[in-house]
Amino acid sequence: MNATRNDRSIAGDATHADDYAAVVARLVEDMGGEQTVLLPMLHALQEEFGYIDDLMVPAVASALNLSRADVHGVVTFYHDFRRRPLGRHRVRLCRAESCQARGAAAVERTATERLGLRMGETSPDGRVTLDAVYCLGLCATGPNAMIDDVPVSRIDPATLDRLLGDLMR
């Protein structure tokens, strides 16, 4: 989705401070500058840049009249906000009880072995991130995954192997 932005960031290009300030200013025009828009704003920034760069924190803080500590505290509280870019693809495997009851552990094992990654890691080539998710609300047809933006139910190690193969091509 944000492949080009991500690629740039992975390449170590960290001179985005002006970029960020401009985008934050645009968002404030849209959303207003009250503290209540902090989560929507962070979601929008992450949507646009792929992650919440530490350099965004001062820009957001001054736009919403908050301290940097306030913004940093929020960014680090919520599991969704990442401070590093994702891989180009993201595989999220459900780890919650109902999927466990249907064999999620075996699927997770296949994924970690096949990708050589632990949960939460991104492959060194930036191709794929493997993540856990705790319930997608598809609990009668697990094990479930989100592969990029596509939900997939009834995964077994064989289908997962095929899906991962598609991503790696």
Partner: protein, 519 residues
């Protein structure tokens, strides 16, 4: 052109409904996308408009489009509403789900929509509150607090600015009813919120939806835009969560909407008195609010006419996990757990014996089949050491290791703790370690600190499993009574129920202690 109905519910899409819909469109059908009827074994389900009415086929693969359209597909179900899983239900809240185009205002109106709002607006706010009180409706988010009384408190609270917040965080594993409703009948939730707004004097509402539900977010936003002029001057906005389970707790949710860390607030003050931005606020679960249009259009008594004891009306029960007929089963309270799991659910999908069911999500207790005669009722479940919660039932077969599930409950609590209180923040991590040692079957030797000469009041010897289990119970006690909210306070339910009902999974040491501690 033949009209066909295919679900675009996230669960149906995860099972391939988009490809089926595309194949049908390519074959010349007029495809209407609906929500899901709620029996996932049948998805992707296709219903074809035929002279005798809507005829269902399911599950259907994309390659089967032609067979479906000429009516010869072997998975022909006939009238889907007559399939026993649906025929046995009593749908008050989910009548339209899976039947209509979720975003069609015409469909909604033709199927009874907006009548509750019209009725409410024709009466003074107090009369609308009285109708909800008469229905006996209790909060469907978990705690079961009477909705009418909550609304009364907000109504009576001084102040001209009030809010309605819909809790659509649905973080519990084994639950998906909120999602189904938001994707399949979003106007119903909007109508319920507008009625709440009228009743308590609020002109603004927020729907806080978890980020794991992208389909529901999209559908709700579009529905809000389409219904804006109908519910005006009431204004609605979707807020998207950010992956924190604890934000389902109502005060953490308020902080999250305000733009803060989702930390639980101490009560009092109740949100009904000082909630969002310090104003009187109704916070209700999706299912509580979505039950309201029925109550206002048909009358509180019609809703209260079915049910069990003090649990009135219907509950959208969700059958999940290793179960054959997984899905949404809306029914009056009082049905037994065994009927739900065995008769309606059909037992496990794996075909193996049921070993345990967890009711009410990650904070709910595990029950063995020997307790299947429990009636589905708030009080009966509380008396049995559990809770109904959001009415998700997760079924496990005999391959599950209950010590592992107890460990998972502690691990989940540690992962999701907001960090405000010690028993939850630290206790959950100590709980994981304790259960790990029990699983490993290793006696725990005293550590370096415990061996220090100044540590006088401490056991220095090796701690055998019996003592570890006693310590685990003690820890659960501390979490239960020392936590500010139900995340830390209820995590002991799955842990202790696993230990009490399945001691064999915790090693030989568990059995005698559990009977001694039970008295």
């Amino acid at each position: 052109m033949t009209r066909v109905y295919v679900s675009q519910d996230m669960a149906a899409v995860a099972l391939g409904a988009d490809a089926v819909a595309e194949a049908l469109a390519n074959a010349g059908a007029d495809v209407v996308r609906t929500g899901s009827r709620g029996l996932f074994r049948l998805e992707p389900l296709v219903e074809v408009e035929m002279p005798e009415g809507r005829v269902g086929f399911g599950p259907v693969a994309a390659a089967d489009a032609a067979l479906v359209l000429d009516g010869s597909h072997p998975a022909r179900l006939g009238d889907v509403a007559a399939v026993p899983f649906f025929a046995r239900q009593q749908r008050f809240t989910f009548v339209r789900c899976g039947v209509i185009d979720p975003l069609s205002l015409d469909d909604y109106e033709a199927h009874g929509g907006w009548r509750g709002l019209a009725a409410a607006r024709a009466m003074p706010p107090q009369a609308a509150i009285d109708a909800v009180k008469a229905s006996g409706l209790r909060g469907r988010g978990g705690a079961g607090f009477p909705t009418g009384i909550k609304w009364q408190t907000v109504h009576d609270a001084p102040g001209s600015t009030k809010y309605v917040v819909c809790n659509a965080d649905e973080g519990d594993s084994g639950t998906f009813a909120d999602r189904l409703l938001m994707e399949g009948d979003p106007f119903c939730l909007i109508e319920g919120m507008a009625i709440a707004g009228h009743a308590v004097g609020a002109e603004r509402g927020y729907i806080y939806i978890r980020s794991e539900y992208p389909f529901a977010i999209r559908t709700m936003r579009e529905a809000i835009a389409r219904a804006a002029s109908i519910v005006a001057p009431f204004v609605l906005e979707v807020r998207v969560g950010a992956g924190a389970y604890v934000c389902g707790e109502e005060t953490a949710m308020l902080d999250s909407i305000e733009g803060k860390r989702g930390e639980v607030r101490a009560k009092p003050p109740l949100p009904a008195i000082a909630g969002l931005f310090g104003r009187p606020t109704v916070i209700n679960n999706v299912l509580s609010l979505a039950a309201v249009p029925f109550i206002l259009s048909k009358g509180g008594e019609a809703y209260a006419a079915i049910g069990f004891g003090r649990s009135r009306g219907t509950m959208p029960v969700q059958l999940a996990g290793n179960v054959r007929n997984g899905g949404l089963f809306e029914t009056g309270f009082g049905i037994t757990l065994g009927e739900l799991v065995m008769d309606i659910g059909g037992g496990t999908e794996s075909g193996r014996p049921v070993k345990a069911v967890q009711v009410g999500g990650p904070l709910g207790a595990y029950f063995p089949p020997s307790m299947f005669d429990l009636p589905f009722d708030y009080e009966a479940f509380a008396a049995a050491g559990g809770l109904i919660g959001h009415a998700g039932i997760t079924v496990f077969d005999d391959t599950v290791d209950m010590a592992h599930m107890a460990r998972f409950a502690m691990e989940f609590c540690a992962h999701e703790s907001c960090g405000k209180c010690t028993p939850c923040r630290i206790g959950s991590t100590r709980g994981v370690e304790l259960i790990d040692r029990l699983i490993a079957g290793e006696d725990r030797a005293a550590d370096a600190v415990e061996r220090l000469p100044q540590m006088r009041n401490i056991a220095r010897g090796t701690r055998p499993a019996e003592e570890e289990i006693e310590l685990l119970r003690d820890l659960c006690d501390t979490m239960k009574f020392g936590s500010l909210c139900a995340l830390g306070g209820f995590t002991p339910y799955p842990v202790l129920s696993a230990l009490d009902h399945f001691p064999q999974d915790f090693g030989a040491a568990a059995a005698p202690i559990s009977s001694a501690a039970a008295e």
